[in-house]
């Protein structure tokens, strides 16, 4: 069965080494899994993301992307490292994603930076955010410093990409395909609501 893999790249330049890493990672996933891969650059919807932060709803272009992430069986998320963390565009995108969209969703993390000194940002910035969002994060996260694009040897970038891609493929294969729940398909019944069985609403100031 073909599984759906979506990659998000928060690279700001074009061409972008962040996008290059995202493409390498999805190719590694597709080697191990019959996958339909769609890759999005957040740069293309940067204004839309800011608008959504302000208005509370996504533009049609951003909605396409959000829906794709929601329906994806696996997500590849790659950001450049700025100031010891993901960049603001990357964070803003996940801020406008609905509650629970990433719950139990396999995610492969990648990041790029000028030197390998930034590599642990993957572990202390990206990974905790995805843990908070209840995603299932692959054990191997891939950092590509500028020098990695020309390095060989035992622990070179291609090997790390292959390992990470295989891990995400295995996590996706172990799960049922994602089914998106329609919020207008109501349960519980109104009698249950009257009996105090309603959902708790959090982080939901816009009514």
């Amino acid at each position: 069965m073909t599984r759906s893999i979506v990659a998000i790249s928060a690279g700001l330049s074009q061409p972008s080494s962040t996008r290059l890493l995202a493409d390498r990672l999805t190719a590694a996933v597709a080697k191990k899994l019959d996958a339909d891969v769609r890759t999005f650059e957040l740069r293309d919807v940067a204004h839309d993301i800011t608008d959504n932060l302000l208005t509370g709803f996504p533009s049609p272009a951003l909605k396409t992307l959000i829906d794709a992430v929601e329906r994806a069986d696996g997500l590849v998320a790659v950001s450049p490292i700025f100031n010891a963390s993901y960049n603001g565009l990357f964070k803003s995108f996940f801020d406008v994603l609905g509650d629970d969209v990433l719950r139990d969703k396999p995610v492969l993390l990648g990041a790029t930076g000028g030197t390998a000194r930034h590599s642990l940002a993957l572990e202390h910035a990206l990974r905790p955010m995805f843990a908070y969002l209840h995603a299932v994060v692959a054990p191997t996260a891939v950092f590509a410093a500028t020098e990695d694009w020309a390095a060989g040897g035992n622990n070179a970038l291609p090997g790390r990409i292959e390992r990470a891609g295989a891990e995400l493929a295995a996590l996706v294969a172990a799960r049922e395909p994602v089914e998106v729940k329609d919020p207008f398909d109501l349960s519980p019944s109104f009698e249950d609501l009257l009996g105090g069985q309603g959902r708790a609403v959090t982080n939901d100031l816009r009514l």
């Binding site: 800011t50 608008d51 932060l53 302000l54 208005t55 509370g56 709803f57 533009s59 049609p60 919020p183 207008f184 109501l186 109104f190 609501l193 009257l194 105090g196 309603g198 959902r199 708790a200 609403v201 959090t202 939901d204 100031l205 816009r206 009514l207």
Partner: protein, 360 residues
Amino acid sequence: MQFGVFTVGDVTQDPTNGRVPSDAERVKAMMAIALKAEEVGLDVFALGEHHNPPFVPSSPTTMLGWVAAKTTKLQLSTATTLITTNDPVKIAEDYAMLQHLADGRVDLMLGRGNTGPVYPWFGQDIRQGVALAVENYALLRRLWREDVVDWEGQFRTPLQGFTATPRPLDGVPPFVWHGSIRTPEIAQQAAYYGDGFFANHIFWPKEHTQKMVGLYRRLFEHYGHGSADQAIVGLGGQVFMRKNSQDAKNEFRPYFDNAPVYGHGPSLEDFSEQTPLTVGSPQEVIDRTLSFREYVGDYQRQLFLVDHAGLPLKTVLEQLDILGEEVVPVLRKEFAIGRPAHVPDAPTHESLKEKAKVDA
């Protein structure tokens, strides 16, 4: 079909001259808008309830009581009355009192409120927003319908042998609309009771309104109140008009660009495309408004927002003139065409009194 205006009562700087009205000016401006609404032949005036600056209307029934005394035909309503943080006992009393003063020209729209700190300020927890709306409204209904209420719930002090006074006018409680932008449970609540459902329809795309209203209509029928197309639907809308379309856009743009909620976000053009906002000629507003029923069906109440974002009172009154003279008469005529006879009008005190007589 009813047409009217609703106001949130924001005190916002006029971006074209930097002027900020005082609270006193804004309160009086809202009252002038209400009187103008009756003068130009609109049916409904509704106001919001807020407990934080930059909004002034913290006490809707005080303001509506004043309007009631100065008008004879206008239907008075709210947009919205906070069912979560108000004590339902006080809502029952305040709106029954208003009914008497206004000779029945009163309904109200319940909403949860979207200002986080208002919940703790009034001793509540926003995470319980839906549960509060459900329990408080269940109590409110009983207070209006039963002379003596014994009650115990999760959120408020129990009541033993309590009678809310005054009793509703002619024994008929005010009609209730439930307003929500994106909470399906509220559409479900409106349908469960056979009450009205009001879709804000200002801040979000029409596809979303269509889904909310569709859910409400489906459940209205499911709960046995009539067929889906007999459900009572209200819509918001936001317009700014000048004779020439481009003049309207030029004049409104600075207000749009700096408006609370969406200002400094999408362009006027993008927002007009993505939401029902219409800035242009009266004919463009007519055409856009007539298109609403293509995705919500024949409906009962259309309220326009015309007075926010720092627009000066003079401009707002001109907008009301245009609505009353050029837009609403055409809408009344056009909306009547093809409207099935079994689709009801919005309930009024008189129609509810009649229905109570028949039911008895």
